[in-house]
């Protein structure tokens, strides 16, 4: 066991996989010699050399295309897109190329790659460097979408992503890079498509992802301490594949559902899960399923405003309390 930051877990996760498999290569902007703008790839260039860890021009389409062509023909590339907001400049690969080539070719082509990216708000970077874009990916058939909330999950889910035969979008949360957690020694390999009940509870189910997980947990503690409300908190971890079994199982026990999303209001993963639950577990629900989200706005830069925009532990707790008590 060692205590690691989320940032260092990224490094260890990539290194673990590059050590295991010489076909794993890594490319992105400023990732090699400089170790990445979030310092989440420091040392990889030194350890694995310039052929396996490559700095690219500012050419997100070339990065994604190169990763795809390499993946199709035998490598297992990890591509970094520095900020997830930049998915917008290479969205063709995410939406039209990676996820469709296997299907269109009737199974002749494969696309086993991982796109790592810094996602989410909290750095006061403003509207073009702070977005949570998990729904941009979840909505596209053919992708897998993962978002770890702890250093341990970073390593385990990254390993699972690299070993997965399909294209995986791996969303690291920028505001978690500096957070710490216990990580076992040795190889860690987790499983995609598995949510994790991070706090069992009986009165309501709260689903959260990435940065929202610690906030949901804090809200749950508050609800317990101040109102005697006992919430089950689930870290969704993997949006595709989605662990509906764990989610529906929890709702069947608690009879109430809350989702905590950092992404803006419309068409988020919360809407998807609420709709699944409303359809498939309608009669399990004792009250309306509630989505707690960032308002449907671009994100402001100013700290005081950004803090207001994102769901906070207080806002989560208050919303759950109000809903359960009504």
């Amino acid at each position: 066991m060692a205590e690691l930051t989320y940032r260092d877990a990224v490094i260890r996760g990539i290194a673990q996989e590059m050590t295991r498999d010489p076909d794993v290569v890594f490319l992105g902007e400023d990732v090699a010699k400089a170790g990445g703008v979030f310092k989440a790839t420091v040392g990889l260039y030194e350890q694995f050399g310039p052929l396996r860890v490559r700095d690219t021009p500012i050419s997100e389409q070339a990065i994604m295309g190169a990763a795809m062509g390499a993946a199709m023909t035998g490598l297992k590339p990890i591509a970094e897109i520095m900020f997830s907001d930049f998915f917008a400049v290479c969205f063709d690969y995410i939406a039209n190329e990676f996820p469709k080539s296997r299907y269109m070719s009737n199974g002749q082509l494969k696309c086993p790659l991982v796109v790592r990216t810094g996602n989410g708000a909290g750095s006061r970077f403003g509207a073009q460097h702070s977005q949570s874009v998990e729904n941009w990916c979840m909505m596209i058939p053919g992708l897998k979408v993962v978002a770890p909330s702890s250093p341990r999950d970073v390593i385990g889910l990254l390993a699972a992503s690299v070993r997965d035969p399909d294209p995986v979008i791996f969303l690291e949360h920028k505001s978690l890079y500096a957070t710490k957690g216990e990580v076992p020694d040795g190889e860690i390999v987790d499983q995609l498509g598995t949510a994790s009940i991070v706090r069992p509870g009986r009165d309501a189910t709260i689903l959260a992802l990435a940065l929202m997980v610690p906030r949901a947990l804090a809200a749950a503690e508050k609800l317990k301490g101040e109102h005697g409300i006992d919430c089950e908190v689930i870290d969704v971890r993997s949006l595709v594949p989605l662990d509906t079994r764990t989610i529906l199982g929890s709702v069947a026990r608690t009879h109430r559902l809350f989702t905590v999303e950092e992404n803006p209001r419309l068409c988020g993963w919360g809407a998807e899960i609420v709709s699944i639950v409303a359809d498939e577990a309608f009669y399990d629900l004792d009250g309306p399923p509630v989505r707690i989200t960032t308002p449907h706005i671009p994100l402001p830069a100013a700290d005081v405003l950004e803090d207001l925009a994102l769901p906070s532990a207080d806002r989560i707790a208050e919303r759950v309390r109000r809903s359960l008590e009504s």
Partner: protein, 343 residues
């Protein structure tokens, strides 16, 4: 007709036999088969048997034949929606191509991809891409893999003149040049994007070649209707790539005899343009070439007859082929063979 660069003009063919009869006959066979198959695709469309869209290479056969003849087994091709010719040139059975156009179960992808996405990994056809420019970076990636693994195959991507104005073109060319990738960019300049003349929307005269210097690459413009010239130029590019000397960008001047796609009667053409280009029909040119090299008319006619026969036979098989079965609707979304996004 656009003026060609001197460097690329064929020396008097009779004085030049670097290519050899075997390759020449192969290239002729390819061109004729492509011509027959594309013409058939057009006829089948008129009979409402080709569904969806389709983009023919009638008139552009020399590019496909010349490039394919320059390839080695294992070399990889990345095509566009206008990819039937390149697919056929690598030996993919006509039946499977026409079957896909007819969206039958015997199609290359059993109808799941359609005419714009022909793929035959076994033949090195690593997909046909219908978003302009997307496959140029992808071809770079395949070439990067070869470079990284020390494998000797080369990747080629084919695209049109219009494609030179999209961002992915720029990103791919720069990356390929900086990384010295074994990739070849073949621009088929047929003078038009869909219906708009390329000259109306492009800042330079030769949309690919005039950009080569922006990536530190030599300027190459060739007569794309002469398979020998294409073959020689492509061979040089393959040699260069295999030697580790990086990418090439080749602009082939050519012309499509049909409209952009099945929906297009090509009314935007200036009068006489098509006729002038038909005088330089690649098959006509090449038939003449074969004669110059002493190939007998019997041999030539036999090739043509055999091509027709193959296309006829393929057509009949396709007409008899069943439609794809419902159960493949949801297969092969993920590597496990299915489409399950949840447990």
């Amino acid at each position: 007709m656009a003026k060609l660069e001197d460097r690329a003009l064929a020396p008097n063919a009779q004085l030049n036999d670097d290519i050899g009869e075997e390759t020449r006959l192969r290239m002729y066979r390819m061109q004729v088969e492509i011509r027959e198959a594309e013409q058939r695709a057009f006829d089948l469309f008129l009979q409402n048997l080709v569904k969806g869209t389709s983009h023919l290479s009638l008139g552009q056969e020399a590019v496909a034949a010349g490039c394919a003849a320059a390839m080695k087994p294992g070399d990889l091709s990345f095509c566009t929606y206008r990819g039937h010719a390149h697919t056929l040139a690598r030996g993919v059975p006509i039946e499977q191509v026409l079957g896909e156009l007819m969206q039958r179960d015997n199609g290359l992808m059993r109808g799941k991809g359609g005419s714009m996405h022909l793929t035959s990994a076994d033949h090195g056809i690593m997909g046909s891409y219908a978003i302009i420019g997307a496959h140029l970076p992808i071809a770079c990636g395949a070439a990067w893999r070869a470079q990284y693994k020390g494998q000797k195959d080369v990747s080629v991507c084919f695209f049109g003149d219009g494609t030179t104005n999209i961002g992915a073109f720029h990103e791919a060319l720069n990356l390929a040049a900086v990384w010295k990738l074994p990739v070849i960019f073949v621009c088929e300049n047929n003078l038009y994007m869909e219906y708009t003349p390329i000259a109306d929307v492009t800042a330079v005269k030769n949309p690919a070649a005039d950009r080569a210097a922006a990536y530190g690459l030599p300027r190459i413009v060739i007569d794309g209707n002469d398979a020998d010239i294409v073959y020689r130029t492509a061979s040089e590019a393959y040699d260069k790539a295999r030697a580790g000397d990086g990418p090439s960008l080749i602009e082939c001047l050519t012309y499509r005899h049909s409209g952009h796609s099945r929906a297009d009667p090509a009314k935007y053409r200036p009068e006489g343009e098509l006729e002038r280009w038909k005088e330089r029909d690649p098959i006509k040119i090449y038939r003449e070439r074969l004669r110059q090299f002493g190939v007998s008319d019997d041999v030539i006619v036999a090739i043509e007859t055999e091509a027709k026969r193959k296309v006829d036979e393929a057509t009949e098989k396709c007409k008899a082929a069943p439609m794809p079965p419902a159960e493949i609707l949801t297969t092969d979304v993920y590597a496990d063979g299915g489409f399950a996004w949840r447990n």
